[in-house]
């Protein structure tokens, strides 16, 4: 066994062993409970008397008769709704060009949980954090309750009468929208435009990929966004494309990517991933080789790669300034070796760069293999050029009416200020979003749409791929679908439902011959959520082949040795464009990399911090004034390991002003910093950026250093592919315990008699190689288990409630105690993500210390937490080696001190709560239950059907949401279950301590022999042997 010599650290303060960190790390509960807001701690004699009086009163009150509770049945119960029995509906999530086919779980007619749709070939059973959380936006108090004219609430008849006439006489009408994927919506707009005359749809996306569309037009003669197949690529090179986090269709890509990186002893092959980027992105964190580069170098790096490949392929090279970028040569070599099985992508929105990327993939023969034009993606149709033109037309008064179709350009468009100023110049302005936002405040008419969970729609994300959206709840408010509004204004009074049905009857139904009855066809499509026409493909365009113009433009625009500070604007995986910023689950979800919640911040390198004398510890930092081309904002600074030197990063999606009580004034708005002067929205600002550190102190609510393992380094066990091929035990740490002259495996020495699990033995296998850190699981868990949101202040007090957290570890070859060493360690660390939740130990340390037996062991291997028995001693949390138990310091529900906890405080928000899970009260401990409510429900179904439980029937919320199948849940007593196969468990073993024969599987902290039921698989990086 070769021991791992790396140093692992969760934050820079741990790396340097900062005194404040060490002090806090020693203390399980660092902050005292502020019982008195005035700072007077403890209770005195009077308080005691008061409390005693209260207890007496409470006792006598409790003795009184219980309140009369009502049971109110339906008047007319719908046949398919049974109280307490969930219903599932397949529908579709699409917003701002993001797409996923989903299944919505409803209880008593209320949607409460969103899962992926297994039938979908695009997103499958996976979701992401934003989609998981979107069910709460249905119950957002910020939603508009009806139509408005100039701020006055009116009824639809009044609005239709007024607006219909005005639109007819307005002249030029523009419909501004994010990417629409819906064929029927297109038809509705067509009908509208036939009635109105001069109508044009202007599409923009807050996260624009116009660069690729434009490049395709230049290089292939067709504005098209190809589909990518990361699963088929053996070598993946990405220039700043965060395809696992936020780039175009991350769910789809993450699913594919993980397929190429699942390894076993039998097939020890995986893709190799090179990333060249400025900010440390989620994708960069997963890369095998990551090279920090400046945004100003990115164009040249792409050109250099082209030349390297062209030389190998004998094609003509282009003129390009010389640039030296680590790993580029090697990437070129491997790309060339894997021609047709490689993939190069770039996150740049510069069409010239994307032209070269197209050319590189052509050179490598990837078209038709890893890049698919036949099934091109429709996800991003945003046209930056048209949008820029539109805004100038608007300001010139050339536009009669503008309809903002479910978009918020007054916030999330680069030229928002200019646009907002111009809206007044149009005769008529309408916004249709379901929630009040910045754009709503700038227009005359509000014609609010249904929430997507209340709507009918159809989608066409790719050629031949269709999906339907159906309502999962009756509209909560007096809203109306935009398509129906458009039809109504055009004088067509059909409902949009009939309109879609008619389209499908005349279109897709007639084009198939499988089903002869339309209703059966329609019901089948609705049930499945999707409909496929395999044969439908788009023509594959031929390349023009000439990139010299693009190369010249790149040569002019980029430079190898820019000295100024460069700003790379990015989006976080939780907040995204900011459209759903008013969702507390997303605000409190720690960013997978920085582990910060409730804020955006300027990410700077350790070198910058050293140069500017900034020392960051435990989230404590200073604010800085960022000035970009004359525009200044004050924003806190976060020292980010891996940040390219000379660059800074700032997340979009924050600083909303009209988003609602949760998101308003959280963070700063970075959209105004975007540059759209070159005909596209540029997220990389390479000129005119300056940063000045201010003296103002600030604390960023980061979670990563909140739970620590006190320097035990074998929590993460990893190796390289080269070593793994030689020895499947590579990277494994096998602790041994010395006893009476001999060394034993820890599991051989135990004080415990051990459990026997006769029926089921639930276990979870977590593949660190598959986990990308995307955090969909954390939100899924929060939704499923009614986990409270505590807000920024309480996160700062280390009281976040998440049952599952993604621990992010940096690792570097050596430790650091001085600034210079710190700089080196933090320059470009490796990153490992480790989902951490209750390990359901068979020898659980928490169970033995509870004085009231509130936490016990089940006969199925679960560690059970009984809230009604818990008296809150917190001994269990103290004794938990994994630090996964969370204590309810406050009553988070029905408490006006936690207004951000909308799912437990708003009467409307509460509709999202899972009725099968208790909402915990103040003073009790809670933790992952391994979704015991799902286990119980699954067993009950099997019992009722008088059959054995099938593997896969029960699944935990985190594993369901996971796009990469990093978490596999199942019955370890069932020899045929997936988890048993993964762990290679011997058949007919019903003991608690199972013999696991998979070499990669390990227990975190195996040496203390708590015998968890959660197994981790070593992280294998596709690096050469000697580089680990």
């Amino acid at each position: 066994m070769k021991e791992n010599k790396k140093t692992y650290w969760k934050g820079l303060e741990q790396l340097t062993n900062d005194p404040a960190f060490v002090k806090n790390a020693d203390r399980e509960f660092p902050e005292n409970l502020p019982l008195h807001k005035n700072g007077d701690g403890g209770s005195n004699r009077r308080d005691f008397l008061k409390m005693m009086g209260f207890s007496l009163a409470a006792a006598s009150l409790a003795a009184c008769e219980a309140p009369v509770r009502k049971a109110i049945p339906y008047v007319n119960k719908p046949v398919d709704v049974d109280p307490s029995v969930p219903n599932y509906y397949a529908t579709t999530y699409a917003s701002g060009g993001d797409y996923a086919s989903i299944v919505v779980k409803t209880r008593e007619g209320r949607p409460i949980k969103i899962d992926g749709n297994d039938f979908s070939p695009i997103t499958g059973s996976a979701t992401n954090s934003i989609i998981e959380a979107s069910v709460l936006s249905l119950y957002d108090k910020q939603r508009l309750t009806g139509p408005h004219i100039n701020g006055e609430k009116v009824d639809w008849a009044a609005l239709d009468a007024d607006l219909g006439a005005k639109l007819r006489s307005a002249g030029s009408i523009k419909i501004v929208t994010n990417t629409l994927l819906s064929p029927s919506t297109d038809k509705a707009i067509e009908a509208f435009s036939e009635a109105m005359g001069d109508v044009e749809v202007i599409t923009y996306d807050p996260l624009s990929n116009f660069g690729i569309l434009k490049a395709s037009e230049q290089y292939y003669g067709k504005k098209v966004l190809p589909s990518y197949h990361f699963d088929k690529a053996k070598t993946i090179v990405s220039f700043g494309a965060d395809f696992l986090g936020t780039w175009i269709s991350p769910i789809e890509y993450a699913r594919q990517y993980s397929q190429g990186r699942k390894i076993s002893k039998e097939s020890p092959e995986m893709s190799r991933h090179f990333q060249f980027e400025s900010n440390l992105s989620l994708t960069g964190a997963n890369a095998d080789y990551r090279t920090p580069i400046r945004p100003s170098q990115s164009g040249l790096a792409v050109l250099a790669l082209y030349n390297l490949l062209a030389r190998r392929g004998g094609a003509s090279t282009v003129n390009a300034p010389a640039i030296d970028i680590a790993n580029l040569e090697r990437a070129a070599e491997e790309l060339w070796a894997n021609r047709g099985q490689s993939l190069v992508v770039s996150g740049s929105n510069d069409p010239n760069v994307q032209v070269v990327i197209h050319a590189i993939n052509e050179l490598l023969g990837n078209k038709g293999e890893t890049i698919d034009f036949a099934k091109a993606a429709h996800f991003r149709k945003g046209d930056d050029e048209r949008m820029i033109q539109f805004v100038s037309d608007l300001n010139a008064g050339r536009i009669g009416a503008v309809i903002f179709y479910n978009c918020n350009p007054c916030y999330d468009y680069a030229g928002a200020e200019e646009l907002t100023a111009g809206i007044g110049k149009a005769k008529v302005s309408v916004a249709t979003t379901e929630s009040r936002n910045e754009t709503c405040n700038a227009v005359q008419y509000l014609a609010p749409d249904h929430h997507y969970l209340e709507s009918w729609n159809d989608y066409n994300p790719k050629p031949g791929e269709y999906s339907l959206a159906q309502p999962t709840i009756t509209p909560l408010f007096d809203t109306r679908q935009v398509q129906e509004s458009l039809l109504r204004w055009a004088g067509n009074n059909t409902s949009y439902y009939n309109f879609i049905k008619q389209n499908w009857r005349e279109g897709y139904f007639t084009e198939q011959d499988q089903v002869s009855d339309f209703d059966m066809f329609w019901d089948g499509c609705l049930h499945n959520g999707i409909y496929r026409v395999e044969a439908e493909v788009e023509e594959v365009p031929e390349a023009f082949g000439d990139i010299s113009a693009a190369a010249q433009a790149i040569g002019r625009a980029y430079s190898a040795d820019n000295q100024g500070v460069e700003l790379a604007l990015y989006t976080k995986i939780g907040i995204g464009s900011g459209a759903q910023a008013n969702n507390p689950w997303l605000q409190e979800m720690p960013d997978p990399i920085s582990k910060a919640t409730w804020d955006n911040y300027l990410t700077v390198s350790q070198k910058w911090a050293n140069d500017n004398g900034l020392k960051m510890q435990e989230g404590g930092t200073k604010k800085a004034r960022l000035t970009v081309n004359g525009l200044s904002i004050d924003v806190p600074v976060l020292v980010q390991p891996g940040q390219a030197d000379g660059t800074i990063g700032l997340a979009l999606g924050y600083g909303r002003t009209v988003a609602g009580r949760v998101a308003n004034e959280v963070g700063v708005n970075a959209y105004p910093l975007l540059d759209h002067s070159k005909g596209f929205v540029n997220y990389d600002i390479t000129e005119g950026v300056s940063v000045e550190l201010l003296s103002e102190n600030y604390r960023i609510a980061q979670t990563q250093t909140h739970q620590t393992y006190m320097g035990r380094n074998f929590v993460i066990q990893e190796s390289t592919l080269g070593e793994y091929k030689e020895d499947p035990n590579a990277g494994r740490y096998h602790p041994e315990i010395y006893k009476e002259g001999k060394f034993y495996k820890p599991s051989k020495i135990s004080l415990w008699s051990g459990h026997k699990y006769s029926q089921h033995h639930w276990g979870l296998a977590i593949d660190l190689n598959s986990c990308t850190g995307c955090s969909a699981c954390t939100v899924a868990c929060q939704v499923e288990n009614n986990v409270a949101v505590v807000g920024r202040d309480e996160v700062l007090n280390r009281r976040e409630m998440a049952w599952i957290r993604i621990d992010r570890y940096y690792s570097s070859p050596e430790g650091a105690t001085e600034n210079k060493e710190l700089e080196k360690a933090a320059d470009n660390p490796e990153v490992t993500f480790q989902p951490m939740m209750c390990q359901h130990c068979n020898n659980a340390p928490c169970e033995t210390v509870c004085p009231v037996v509130a936490t016990t062991h089940s006969s199925e291997g679960l560690n059970q937490m009984t809230y009604n028995r818990c008296i809150g001693t917190r001994y269990c949390a103290n004794n938990c080696p994994y630090k996964v138990r969370r204590f309810n310091w406050f009553k988070y529900h029905d408490n006006k001190d936690f207004p951000m906890n909308t799912p437990q405080n708003d009467d409307l928000g509460k509709m999202v709560l899972n009725p099968d899970v208790t909402v915990r009260v103040r003073g009790v401990m809670e933790k992952c239950s391994m979704c015991v409510q799902r286990i119980q429900a699954g067993k009950l179904t099997a019992k009722k059907e008088r059959r054995k439980l099938q593997d896969g029937e029960i699944n935990v919320a985190c594993a369901v949401a996971c796009p990469t199948e990093a978490l596999v849940f199942g019955d370890m007593n069932d020899p045929h279950s997936k988890v048993s196969n993964l762990l290679k468990i011997k058949e007919n073993d019903i003991s608690a301590n199972k013999e696991v024969n998979e070499e990669r599987a390990y227990h975190v902290l195996e040496e203390i022999n708590v015998s968890p039921n959660v197994w981790y698989f070593t992280k294998i990086r596709n690096k050469d042997k000697n580089e680990a």
């Binding site: 219980a66 509770r69 109110i72 006769s758 059970q864 009984t866 119980q936 008088r946």
Partner: protein
């Protein structure tokens, strides 16, 4: 021992008898002596009762008509006979009692039974007075919930009053007896020719004060008082939140006795969720309307019953009926009906009691955790024909005891709390 001394014993005996007598008369009622209590008479009466009376009458419960037991005590035998044979005749004759009764029960006409012979009527009365004592206890339990438990068994509040009065009377008697004792003592002490033994007996003075102030007495009394207080407090605390017997007034006076008992409608016809989900479901109005579209009143009555009218009102105006929830489990406990009914095959009555006899539904079981656990400890699992349990049965086969719920984790916290 002299006669005089035994006099005391007699007096004491009288007081004891008095107590016993009053207690006895307080608890029991006396049927008319002419009414036979022979098995044959009761049996004959029962079949007559079932054929002619049961539609509207119960022995111990007010129903369409009053509860009947004790009628020969409340009324004269002759009056009762006449009323049974032809009540309308009696009412039209202006008999005050009959008219009052007729009014009390909503002017519902009781059919005449002139085909019954005098013997039949006596048999009927025999059944009424002495038949089906099991029904009596069930009825009494049911009556606790009903606000108007007028006739039949003595309602509990009257019982209390009677007991208090009795205690008062007995105390009076004791005082009187005490006076007699002291008078007798005085008289005897004047009598000079008493022997030594008797003299001592009369002269002996119990120093009551001394007894009351003795340590032993204080300790005993204190212990008893403390024990009683603690017991009462504990009982009280254990009963906090327990609503056993809770029988709230419902918005519609729906009778399970009529629907489930008499018409034998299966529970699941209305409680549709009981085999599929957590909730058994209080039936939605449309389920009621399946029958009540046609049935507008109880058998043989014209017009729409006022209670059924409430249903029509709710249904027509789309106004849900707000039933009062009787069985309230705390939110922290998860209970699933289908597990117990569809899988375990339990009868509804196991937990809900004799629901088919309840005019007004009350909470039969305590619904405490101890009650749940007891059942889980003792109940065998129905494993036959259910493959899910195969492995458990196989592993359990070595054990001598039957496979019970507790053996498969039925006592674990997370079966009900999560």
């Amino acid at each position: 021992m002299t006669i005089k001394r035994s006099l005391f014993g007699v007096i004491h005996g009288i007081s004891a008898l008095l107590v016993a007598f009053f207690l006895f008369t307080g608890m029991a009622y006396a049927a008319h002596p002419d009414v036979s209590d022979s098995e044959d008479a009761i049996q004959a009466g029962q079949s007559l009762f079932n054929a002619n009376c049961r539609t509207c009458h119960r022995l111990d419960q007010n129903y369409t008509g009053p509860a009947l037991r004790g009628v020969t005590e409340r009324r004269s035998l002759d009056w009762a006979k006449r009323f049974i044979v032809n009540s309308q005749a009696l009412i039209q004759a202006g008999d005050a009692e009959a008219v009052a009764l007729f009014r009390e029960y909503n002017n519902i006409v009781m059919p005449s039974h002139d085909f019954l012979s005098d013997d039949d009527v006596m048999n009927l009365l025999a059944y009424i007075e002495y038949g089906d004592t099991a029904e009596a206890s069930a009825g009494a339990a049911g009556a606790e919930g009903t606000a108007e438990g007028a006739a039949g068994g003595i309602p509990s509040e009257y019982l209390t009053i009677i007991l208090v009065v009795l205690v008062f009377v007995l105390l009076l008697i004791l005082v009187v007896l005490g006076l007699i004792v002291s008078v007798l003592k005085k008289y005897l002490s004047q009598d000079q020719d008493l022997d030594q033994d008797d003299k001592e007996f009369i002269d002996q003075k119990t120093d009551i004060k001394k007894v009351f102030t003795s340590d032993a007495f204080i300790i005993i009394i204190t212990t008893i008082v403390v024990a009683l207080v603690v017991k009462t407090a504990l009982d009280g605390l254990y009963n906090v939140g327990i609503q056993q017997g809770y029988a709230p007034k419902q918005p519609i006076a729906y009778s399970h006795q009529l629907h489930a008992g008499e018409y034998e409608i299966p529970c699941q016809y209305c409680h549709t969720g009981v085999e599929i989900g957590k909730s058994a479901n209080i039936p939605s109005a449309n389920i009621c309307m399946n029958c009540h579209m046609h049935i507008q009143n109880v058998d043989g009555k014209e017009g729409i019953s006022p209670e059924i009218a409430k249903l029509y009102d709710a249904y027509d105006n789309n106004k849900p009926i707000e039933w009062v929830r009787i069985h309230n489990l705390p939110d922290l406990a998860y209970f699933n009906h289908s597990q117990h009914v569809a899988v375990a095959g339990l009868d509804c009555q196991t937990c809900h009691g004799p629901i088919e006899e309840m005019e007004v539904v009350y909470q039969h079981s305590s619904l405490t955790m101890g009650w749940c656990i007891d059942c889980h400890r003792n109940t065998e699992i129905t494993t036959q024909g259910n493959e899910y349990y195969d492995k458990l049965v196989q592993l359990h086969s070595e054990s001598k005891d039957a496979l019970k719920v507790k053996d498969i984790g039925g006592l674990e916290c997370a079966k009900c709390h999560y």
